[in-house]
């Protein structure tokens, strides 16, 4: 079918004006999906769902420059840094509108007692000089915190004024409760607690979350191991959409052998976690949706040479194309079984491009036509 217009009785000027108006209208309709795509990119300004930037981090590089970006996991950019809260440049590298720090706090279920961890004490000390009001609120918060169970998460927003904010760029504190005693028993609390922190941070529109090695104490031989901590952490990260930036914060004053142990465990766990998208592989964020919107204008353009883009035709083409792409997704999964994410991505791009460019022809393909009686 070719495109026809009723042009009889029109002067050349009105005909040109008609064509011009029609061309603009057609262009707007064709480009509408790109407008939706732009809106989606503004609403979710993320490119990667997962990618591996570094196979591992080198401890000597980390001591020279920081933070180091490991990659992206579940749309969360993961960085590693070595920090000390008493340093004047503490967290000076973080960017973003709001940031939060996770802290461990220790409770005893039998007696109504609690103990502030080393980082909690350091935060109290820092707030004394940066924001005395927040220090008082945190002190009262610790005093009231007598009961709780391991894995529970509590939060406290801070109100540090803009002048002092660069000295302690934290807007929110999350407290993960642990049972007092050997922290090696707290593995489940770490796993569940971090998931809760990620969810709460997401709900609170926190863009940057700093996670130190919670419940770890280098002087305690019964402390949770780095391998267990990082495994629990990455398990939580790979199952939850949390804040955009996650900083894994190691401690500056750990002895060198402890730092080596931490980096070894981190590298091992990251290698395991990023195995599915190693080297050049990556997974784009909202890939199916964005790829469909990207190729929809091509489909509309090609289709517009065969049928006029009336409202009805437009909707039919849009929904048929989306249906075809969604259906093709199952076929792509079938073909890409056992291959990496890059192969799947390439197949998906090729299939979507072919579907969009050949849409007017492909929709006429019907197996029934092959075997119909008329044909024989």
């Amino acid at each position: 079918m070719t495109r026809t217009f009723k042009v009889q009785g029109l002067t050349p000027r009105t005909l040109l004006s008609h064509i011009h108006k029609d061309g603009i209208c057609r262009g707007v309709l064709i480009l509408l999906p790109l407008l939706v795509l732009s809106g989606d990119l503004l609403w979710f300004p993320l490119v990667y769902e997962s990618r591996q930037l570094a196979k591992n981090i080198s401890i000597t590089s980390l001591l020279k420059e920081q933070p180091i970006c490991l990659g992206t996991l579940k749309a969360q950019n993961i960085y590693v840094s070595i920090d000390n809260i008493n340093n004047s440049k503490y967290l000076s590298y973080i960017k973003g509108p709001s940031s939060a720090l996770a802290i461990s706090h220790f409770v005893t279920s039998e007696s109504q007692e609690s103990r502030v961890g080393a980082l909690g004490q350091a935060v109290l000390g820092k707030l004394a000089s940066v924001s005395p009001d927040d220090r008082r609120r945190l002190y009262d918060f610790f005093n009231r915190l007598r009961t709780g169970h391991a894995g529970e998460v509590l939060e406290l927003p801070l109100n540090i004024n803009a002048e002092q904010h660069r000295r302690f760029p934290i807007d929110h504190l999350f407290f993960l409760l642990f049972e007092q005693g050997p922290s090696s028993n707290n593995k489940d609390a770490v796993s569940g607690g971090i998931t809760k922190i990620l969810e709460m941070a997401k709900r609170g529109h926190i863009s940057t979350l700093i996670i130190p090695c919670l419940a770890y104490s280098w002087g305690d031989k019964n402390s949770i191991s780095f391998a267990d901590f990082f495994q629990s952490l990455f398990d939580s990260l790979s199952h939850t959409y949390g804040p955009r930036n996650i900083y894994l914060s190691l401690y500056t004053d750990w002895p060198t052998f402890t730092l080596e142990e931490a980096v070894t465990a981190l590298n091992r766990v990251w290698a395991y976690q990023s195995g599915g998208f190693s080297a050049l592989a990556f997974v784009l964020y909202r890939m199916d949706f964005r790829l469909t919107l990207l190729f929809l204008p091509l489909c509309l353009l090609v289709s517009s040479f065969f049928v006029p883009l009336t409202a009805k035709n437009y909707l039919i083409i849009v929904f048929s194309f989306i249906g075809s792409v969604v259906g093709a997704g199952r076929l792509i999964d079938f073909v890409a079984q056992g291959h990496g994410s890059t192969f799947r991505f390439l197949v998906q791009v090729i299939v979507t491009a072919v579907l969009s460019a050949g849409f007017p022809f492909l929709v006429n393909w019907n197996p029934k036509n092959l075997f119909s009686k008329e044909r024989g």
Partner: protein, 125 residues
């Protein structure tokens, strides 16, 4: 200007290399546990010292000791202060990686630059 250029130096790495990793120079006496070192404080001290040197201060003379050679003749050994050893290590660490990048490893017949990501060491052990 000096402050900015000093903050770019790998002082944190140099402190750990000099105090924990490089055993042949034994920067610290054997009765000194390395985990009692406050690395962040030491880093600040070294940064200040480098600034002073860049502003014209001269380091103190190294400790000198006469060590007998095989022939029996004494040979002087010069041992800089612990902080000066770290300052020297900072200079080495600032250059080592850049130099290693342009060197053909097949032609290095002595120490190879550290390639183990999990170890704090200057050369492969």
């Amino acid at each position: 200007m000096v402050k900015r250029s000093v903050s770019a130096l790998p002082i944190g790495l140099a402190v750990r290399l000099a105090l924990d990793a490089i055993s042949y120079s034994n920067a610290l006496p054997p009765w000194f546990d390395s985990f009692t070192v406050s690395y962040s404080v030491r880093e600040k001290v070294i940064a200040r010292k480098i600034e002073q040197y860049l502003n014209g201060d001269r380091p103190r003379s190294p400790f000198e000791i006469l060590v007998p050679k095989k022939t029996g003749a004494p040979k002087p050994w010069f041992i800089p202060s612990v902080n000066d050893q770290i300052v020297l290590q900072t200079s080495v660490s600032a250059l080592a990686e850049k130099i290693n990048r342009v060197i053909d490893p097949k032609r290095v017949l002595s120490y190879q630059y550290n390639t183990d990501p999990n170890r704090v060491q200057l050369v492969n052990s």
